[in-house]
Each structure stands twice: as structure tokens, then as C-alpha cells.
């Protein structure tokens, strides 16, 4: 039996990132801020808090996410803003994450 569940890319990202055992996870679709068709799923922002990031430099933290989302990034996802914190860092920031920049390019950029 072949059962296909149509999952949005956003839901799939949320699902896969559970592998990092997040204390807090927020996936935001920011595609509407870019020059792509309405209801696109191309530009995302992820805020993820996990004790797995303890002692890891920023590049290593990002690479962990890229490994988990390799499929999405090699296909439909064009931009992925990542804000990755340990529980302590998140607490000291008061739960704030930075804003993403606005688009500067055309649909091919």
C-alpha cells in the first residue's frame, strides 16, 4: 500500500528539526517578502534553541541544521535564516531573535 501524505515544506522542516531536540522551535515562512509567486515556500527563518549547541561554534551549529535539511536545501528552499541558541543564550537574550533583511534582487537572484 502506498500512502502519500502531502506535507508542506514548512511542516517537513519542523518535523525534521525535532532531531535536534529543541527546547524552542519556530519556523517562519518569509517567502512573501521576496519576489516569488504567492504562497511559495522558498525563504524560511528558523529559530531553534537546543542544548545540543552547547560548546559549538556558530558554523558548526549551522552545519548541523544543513545536514538535517539537506534535501530541502538542494531543492525548493532558497534561503534559510538560522538563529541557533543554547538554552542559556536564549534566556540571556530574553527570547529575541533578529529580523531577516528585505529582498534586494529579482526572482533569479
Amino acid at each position: 500500500m502506498n500512502e502519500t501524505i502531502a506535507m508542506s515544506i514548512q511542516a517537513s522542516i519542523e518535523d525534521k528539526l525535532q532531531a535536534l531536540e529543541p527546547d524552542f522551535l519556530q519556523v517562519e515562512n518569509e517567502s512573501h517578502r521576496h519576489s516569488v509567486p504567492a504562497n511559495s515556500e522558498t525563504h524560511f527563518k528558523v529559530t531553534l534553541v537546543s542544548s545540543r549547541f552547547q560548546g559549538l561554534m556558530p558554523v558548526k551549529r549551522h552545519q548541523q541544521i544543513y545536514a538535517v535539511l539537506a534535501e530541502e536545501l538542494s531543492g525548493p528552499v532558497h534561503a534559510l535564516a538560522l538563529h541557533l541558541y543554547t538554552p542559556q543564550e536564549w534566556q540571556s537574550r530574553g527570547g529575541n531573535r533578529p529580523d531577516s533583511p528585505n529582498c534586494r534582487g529579482g526572482s533569479q537572484a
Binding site: P58, V59, H62, L73, A81, P101, R104, G105, A109
Partner: protein, 116 residues
Amino acid sequence: MSDTIENIKKQINDNPILIYMKGTPQLPQCGFSAQTVQALMACGERFAFVNVLDNPDIRAELPKVGNWPTFPQLWVEGELVGGCDIIVEMYQNGELEPLVKEAAARANDGNEQPSA
């Protein structure tokens, strides 16, 4: 190994401060590249850049070199420092400027003739 990857490795080795971006520092073609290059320019050192929109082969191959799928990418002394989120955060908390200035200083030392 493809020529493109050899070319990328040479760029990374030859340029102590190197940004791969969409567009140019004067005319970035992407908000993420714009923010990153602005932070880098604010550090006040010379740097090299590659516009990946003009170099589709580099755009395709670079993600494999650094295990990093998106642009921009800032490389300092042969190491990937990060993309937009990391660089902007490092700039804001004061870590980017010393990193860039020290790399520039070491590069300048290396180019000078040793004094007797």
C-alpha cells in the same frame, strides 16, 4: 577534482578576507549579501569578493567545499566564518572587527620584506 573546485580552493587560500556574495559590495543583489558585506565594509579593511551570480560554476560548487548551502559566505584565512546570520551577529557583538583586522595585519606582515 574539477577545475572549479581547484579554482575555489585557490581563491580561499590566496585571499585572507574573501566574501562570496550575490552582486557586488556596491550593488548587492540580495538582502542577506547586502547586510553581510555592509558589516564587513564597516571593519575598514580591504577584502576580496566573488559575485556568484556572475560565476554559476562557483555558485554550484562552493556549497560542497564549505559544507554550506547558501550565500553569502565569508572566508577568513582559509576558514569559513559564516553566512549572514553569523556575520551580522559577530559584527553586533564586536567579534567581527578584531577577526578581520588581525587577518589583515597578518597578511600585510607576510607581504613585507623581513628587516635585517
